[in-house]
Amino acid sequence: MRVRKPGLFTTIQDSGRFGYQSLGVPPSGALDEYSFNIANMLVSNDEDCACLECTLIGPELEFEEDTKFAVAGGKFEVFLSGKQIEEWRSYDAKTGDVLEVKKAISGCRCYVAFSGGIEVPLIMNSRSTYTKGNIGSVVKGRILLGNEKATFNKVLSKRYIPSYENETGLRVVLGPQDDYFTSAGIGTFLNEGYKVTNSADRMGYRLEGKPIELKSSEIISDGVPLGAVQVPGNGQPIVLLKDRQTTGGYPKIATVVTPDIPKVAQAKPGDVIRFKTVSMEEAHSIYTKHYEKFEEIKTSLEEPKGRKGRRFRMIINGKEYHVEVEEVLS
């Protein structure tokens, strides 16, 4: 596939790079894992296959082979050879078709999944781009796709499609260093809204609002978990995401629950974020419920059962054909 226009910041992301944080290498991976997983399911990929992650303005791509694809995530204007298409469902592109992922109408990021995934070398067991660590770069030139395996086009049920507002609530568990803040500071953090600044990228989102009062603004550097809300001396919080530094020296007032990370990924500069605490028990139960919903979606998108069709790949006169043979009862 040829990249005709790269878009604002389009990278290849899979589910991430795990086991290297003790060496200072962040996990990276799709920021909005919900949309990323569903995009893959729509084209019958394993849910952690490498996709394109588009940011605010997507790329323009020309297909060089027939490919099934799907776009999911923030609401973007998407066109296939000039005809507007929908997100959260898969389509068949023919050789020569042009996919244009234009600008975000709501939300911030969307994922383009191709049946068979994207072929780039595995670096530390992941295909995710991490630009600051010299792993991959924003997309350019050609993108090599894996071998297609999908057969049916799929549509996600409307009830699973998220909507994106300009104000987002995030559930957090207090800690690890909430004891570095005055009780007034914690009150401010939980009661005020914080605006997303222009410094909002895969590494972290800098927010601005009423300063959060600290007792002390420096700790001896320790590990930084996904979703950590770090507060430097100026009292302005930073939500740390997947390209974050693995360790840091600022106190962390709270940590966003994993199922709410996609909401951060879809927030854009100017949006307002509000924080709400949940207990650890609640956080665990939110996680479990999220996982159950995810399993339900997975089941809903599985290949239709009970079809008797058998699929063959045939090569006739050097040309490849995908053939499905189905018994028809009269």
Partner: protein, 246 residues
């Protein structure tokens, strides 16, 4: 070190096991020993050792904060600091001064030493790798002689080349990647501290010891050339990325 470890919540999928609120070599050794013994605990996905704590990532569908806390507490109690388990020692070749170490003179002047003395002091200590973080392969080292301590640059440089060896306050370290930075640069190593495409992208681990060995410019170029050749050989063996493109 605390009498009892602290367990701090870090969201729904991670927790912090904190042993101390100070930087102590003994605490760091205990951390390294604990990490080895907790690797088998069910549900643990990844651990990040730091100066005085461990960030433990876990799968909340397999375990949870409360259960894991008990298991880690048990591991903490049963882990002895192994005096013999001091990790490996790495000797890093460094070419000091001139273009490779533009701040060597400043460090010498600031401390009332000659450049030769700074090089000698910097190169004669054993440095404990407390942790790796901040950027891939960046080692936080303990053990620098305070006679060469120097404050950071007032205005950070826009680009410091990979391999630069610097001093910031009482710390010394190496930039594994080219990046902006405010450390006083006294030399450069030809060795890659971080190579994403290598099978072992960061050879050093927390708990290892580092030494610096002075080399001349000729030797610097020689090592650099050897690394380049090795990479070319590897590329020819593996086939570079994108070879299948038409």
């Amino acid at each position: 070190m605390y009498d009892e470890p602290r367990f701090l919540p870090a969201g729904d999928s991670a927790l912090v096991l904190e042993l101390s609120d100070a930087i102590e070599a003994e605490c760091n050794r205990k951390i390294i020993s604990i990490i080895r013994s907790v690797e088998k605990i069910k549900g643990i996905k990844e651990t990040v050792p730091t100066y005085r704590s461990i960030l433990v990532y876990y799968d909340p569908l397999v375990t949870n904060f409360f259960g894991l806390k008990d298991e880690l507490n048990e591991a903490y109690k049963n882990t002895e600091i192994k005096s013999g388990g001091r990790g490996r020692t790495f000797t890093i070749p460094v070419c000091y001064g001139d273009d490779f170490g533009p701040d060597l003179k400043f460090v010498a002047d600031h401390n009332g030493l000659s450049e030769e003395e700074v090089i000698k002091i910097h190169g004669s200590a054993d440095y404990l790798v407390y942790m790796i973080g901040f950027m891939p392969g960046f080692t936080y080292l303990g053990g620098m002689d305070e006679r060469i301590a120097t404050p950071r640059l007032e205005k950070p440089r826009e680009k410091i080349p990979a391999g630069s060896v610097g001093i910031a306050g009482k710390q010394t370290g190496i930039y594994p990647l080219g990046s902006p930075g405010g450390w006083r640069i006294i030399g450069r190593t030809p060795v890659k501290m971080y190579d994403p495409e290598s099978e072992n992208p960061v050879p050093i681990r927390a708990g290892d010891t580092m030494r610096f060995k002075r080399i001349g410019e000729k030797e610097y170029e020689k090592i650099k050339e050897e690394i380049r050749k090795e990479e070319t050989r590897k590329e020819m063996r593996v086939g570079g990325p994108g070879k299948n493109e038409s």
